[in-house]
Amino acid sequence: MPNKAYAKIPGLVALLVLLAFLPAFLGPYSMHMMILVLIYVVIATSWNILVWTHQISLGHAAFFGIGAYTGALIYNAWRLPPYLDMLLGGIFASLSAVVLGVICLRMAPWALAIATLAFAEAMKVLVIMLPGLTEGAEGVGIPPLFGGGEAARTKAYYLIFGIACLSVLLAYTLKRSKLYYAFTAIHDDEDAANMLGINPTKYKVVAFTLSAFFVGIVGSFYAHYIAYIDPHAAFNIHISVEAQIMPLMGGLYTVAGPVVGAFILTLLGEYLRITIKTGYLIVYGIILVVVIFYLPQGLIGLAEKWVKKR
């Protein structure tokens, strides 16, 4: 086991170095895509934490939107440093996750999935219906991050790169921590876990909170980066769906899976959009179906199979 873990290190270091030097090689459009990729790395990684406890969320757009609005509104009101804004975005998202978690914990996984979906929609309604606070359906404009321009984009890239590293590091640390035992026990059999002294409610809320935190941060980052946010984009159901498709494609339960899934699907989605003019979403749908049929363990599962065969 330890050998296997060490074998990964050179690849990992190479990947990190590559990502760190990427701005030197990439044009602005590719940089923009990489920033989107890293945003999704964070979302997918965070969503995946929740799966460890067998909770399915169809509403991560809610945390993203809460983060985005927290960031945008606080920045416009007080012009705090963007970093602080992002942190606050994460904290607000986590707080909402605690509330949602406590309310929804006794539900079966599928009921929770629908309840989280409803939560995201309800948050959207709230933002739209309170224009005094949120500027409502018209959306909020924010001065661009780091003043805009290409230099700002490179800075933004390093910022989101850092956030992504932290979120993956969190997932990695969690996976090797005592908490992972509690999460997995709850995932596999809640009653049995309960009988071994694990308070399922507590650990589910913990998972929810951790899962929401980084999503809130990138929500806020996104608002700053795009410089404009509106309720329909912030609470877009597609964010929630991508958050699931990516870990599934990469490999659920693993740390690398969501990262791989986010890379491939973000780039593939954009590639399809610009190459197939009509009906590229059909191709995307077909890819999704094929993955579920033939790669139920995701790409990481496939890779592990290869490694085992050799």
């Binding site: 539900m107 309800a122 995307y284 890819i287 999704l288 179906v289 579920i292 049929f293």
Partner: protein, 290 residues
Amino acid sequence: MDLAIFAQVIANGILTGGLYALIAVGLTLIFGVMRVINFVHGETLMLGSYLTYFLFTLYGIDPFLSLPLAICALFVLGVAIQRFFINPVIDAPHLNQILLTFGLVLIIQNLALILWSGNYISMTTRYSAISLKFGPLSVGLTRVLGLIIAVFLTVLLTLALKRTEWGKAVRAVTQDREAAMLMGVNVNRVNMVAFGVGSAMGGAGGVVTSMIMYTFPLVGMLFVLKAFAIVVLGGFGSIAGAVVGSLILGLTESLVTHYVPRGSGWAEGVSFAVLVLILVVRPKGLFYAE
């Protein structure tokens, strides 16, 4: 409070609830039997409504005549989808199934968009947008007909579940799949037929939708989220729960819209809040049998 207006508000709520029920009943049947969160349900509605629209505009076939046609067509489609797409992943985790159905939704929706363009279309029959008067109440004829179809099909389905062999098998599988299998129930067949029947209900919903509102390739998305909320509210797999849940949502929206300032904007948010509140008290839904 003006009683006549109150009665009108309640009538609106019930009619809307009836529409919701038509969509939710099929969905809850599918969930009860297979435990699959089926996003394709909205697309069966969309296909049913386009079928009705084209039969009417191209061949002048009345929607009521196309109702049995749509039911048969969507039944066949539902069986096919179950057989070729759902069945292979029937034992896979919920998540894989959710995303599989989501993939199918993307495919069907975008095909429809290419074939039929994004236009919002609707049709006008001899009896559309005619209003019926009951004293101070004024309700749309097609809405009432829609409610009648919903009631008729739901009663038919309930009877089928109570009286027929297939119905008994469905109930056995809904309660305990493993036990049903041990008792010799052909679970595969039950699944397929249940998915077909559920999709047919969705198709019937499409027929009604095309009469009372409008259709476009994404019309299913307008319904499916609400239908899921109803299914959860009523208790997954419970027909009675789906009906009661539909009425609760329909009435809540109607009452909030009417009696709350800017209520139409709040209505949906309130109905989702009601959903969550009910789930707090009854985590498995109103009619979930332990």
